[in-house]
Point group: C2
Chain length 311, copies 2
């Protein structure tokens, strides 16, 4: 009976993804994570605001279902790893702020491990996704990597000379890199942030404003490319903004590969090809790196939560 299995969760504002995983190692390094069980659940909502307590209960339920299934797979679970969007203190096992989950200063690790009887570790979701892409995904083996996750917001994880960049202060906030002067206001309080132009949410809103429809999202923009000039214009604006921020990043960092993840990366070549074109047309000092979509797709957070917990 293996004692090396673990439960990993990616807790988002709309869904909770959980997996029971068995790591395969080579010379001590994790080279694969076999999926033994999966659970996908809706994140509970308490009316207009997220209900933090209900979300914690649902996480407990998902974990218990996965822990219960371990016996039939003849594994025992040594730890639970949870990826969370927000300000996370991994060492303390606490989440200082997770707006989408209704949490402020919640000792998530202590609370869950008391309920589950298994050690629990809490990690930042984007850091997990970046770790996963670097270790087992589209950034595998790349020493100088920029993994960019574009969804409701935009964040990045940087790998420099094979080492993750954590920064003396919080790093990787690509969504709040300025791309326009002075630019549109961002909820963060700045103006001209990349996120205001190129997040999935911003793209959906810009298309809604252009078409007068309030039920459209970034997926509708991608679907209408080439047929609706309004969609083309919104997409072009987003790509121009993304090119500004990424040209700056690769010029500073000498990046070898850009991995694009998050919901918007499901656009695939509709995103990658025009972004590559823009960078090739503009860059004269930086060498334009490979640009690829994420290898682990929506599983990156779960895989990274497992890797961070094992590491």
């Amino acid at each position: 009976m293996s004692t090396d299995a673990l439960v990993a969760l990616d807790v988002g504002g709309t869904s909770i993804r959980g997996e029971l995983l068995r790591p395969a190692r080579d010379a001590g390094e994790v080279v694969d994570l076999e999926v033994l069980e999966r659970v996908l659940a809706d994140t509970p909502r308490g009316g207009a605001e997220p209900d933090g307590d209900a979300i914690l209960d649902e996480i407990e339920r998902v974990c218990k279902a996965l822990l219960d299934s371990a016996t039939s797979h003849r594994v025992s679970v040594g730890a639970v790893g949870v990826a969370v969007p927000g300000v996370v203190d991994t060492a303390a096992g606490a989440v200082h702020l997770a707006g989408n989950l209704g949490w402020r200063d919640v000792p998530v690790a202590a609370e869950l491990s008391a309920r589950l009887g298994v050690p629990v570790r809490v990690h930042h979701d984007v850091a997990c996704a970046g770790l996963a892409e670097r270790t087992l995904g589209a950034g595998r083996g790349v020493r100088d990597l920029l993994a960019v996750f574009i969804g409701t917001g935009i964040a990045a994880t940087l790998t420099v000379a094979g080492m993750p960049v954590t920064g003396g202060h919080h790093a990787g906030e690509l969504g709040h890199v300025p791309v326009r002067e002075p630019g549109l206001p961002c909820p963060c309080g700045q103006t001209g942030c990349l996120e205001v132009y190129a997040s999935a949410r911003a793209i959906g809103r810009a298309y809604a404003a252009a078409t007068g429809r309030d039920d459209v999202t970034s997926r509708d923009v991608v679907a209408a490319l080439g047929t609706d000039p309004a969609a083309d214009a919104v997409w072009d604006d987003a790509l121009d903004a993304l090119a500004h921020a990424l040209l700056g990043a690769i010029t500073l960092l000498g990046t070898e590969r850009i991995v694009l993840g998050g919901g918007l990366s499901l656009a695939g070549d509709a995103l990658v090809a025009p972004l590559r074109e823009r960078l090739l047309a503009r860059a004269r000092v930086a060498v334009v790196p490979d640009i690829v979509t994420a290898g682990l797709g929506p599983r990156a957070g779960v895989v990274g939560a497992a890797l961070a917990t094992l590491g």
Copy 2:
């Protein structure tokens, strides 16, 4: 007789600075470089274009003067380190391109070591200056450091988690990070590069254009601040551009300290104070790091050439 002394040179487009240095070590690490001799020479010019052969001869002359002086200091010189502005292949000891020196594919290390009878190593000048500030200057002990050198051009060296960032491709080209869309053309072929707005050369040119005088430099702008509104406007533009690029950099990197070096940093608080103000006024996601001027001043290149050669 110490055999640990070395000769270090910083070869620029206008001057050549050479020093005979004796390292002091603590537990194997270089903790100080004692200056035994100094030479400052003009970089030879052959009319309008730089004369590469004459520059190499002058480097030889400066090195020989420093090597000859070693005997009187009772040291022997184990190596010569040369810092050069351009595209340098340190492993091969060759300079692929150094426009300001008139060099293209010159095997500088082999040529000089044949003339001098001492091993010679060649390094990139900004990498040297960054190494020097990180090791013995204003960035000493800082794990996440951005050292920015503003002179004719703008370049940076990045230190992340205590390690220098070299990039899979060439890194640190802060001067070619875009700050305006589409912005003014840059000699590199891009538009809107930081260097077009905030280098010492760009500031001098903008002031010349504003005043109709062709004999002014960035030093005149600094001297006229507070008395000439044209100087204030030029300086404000440069600082706005610098704030855009640096806000992007610190938001990505989580930088703990920014060290400002190069000729423009001689402006001191006239540069540091308004830059800090702009970053504090703008930043809502990144924590604004310490901003200080370089500790080694114009010696950073020489000190770094020595450190790079010893390391």
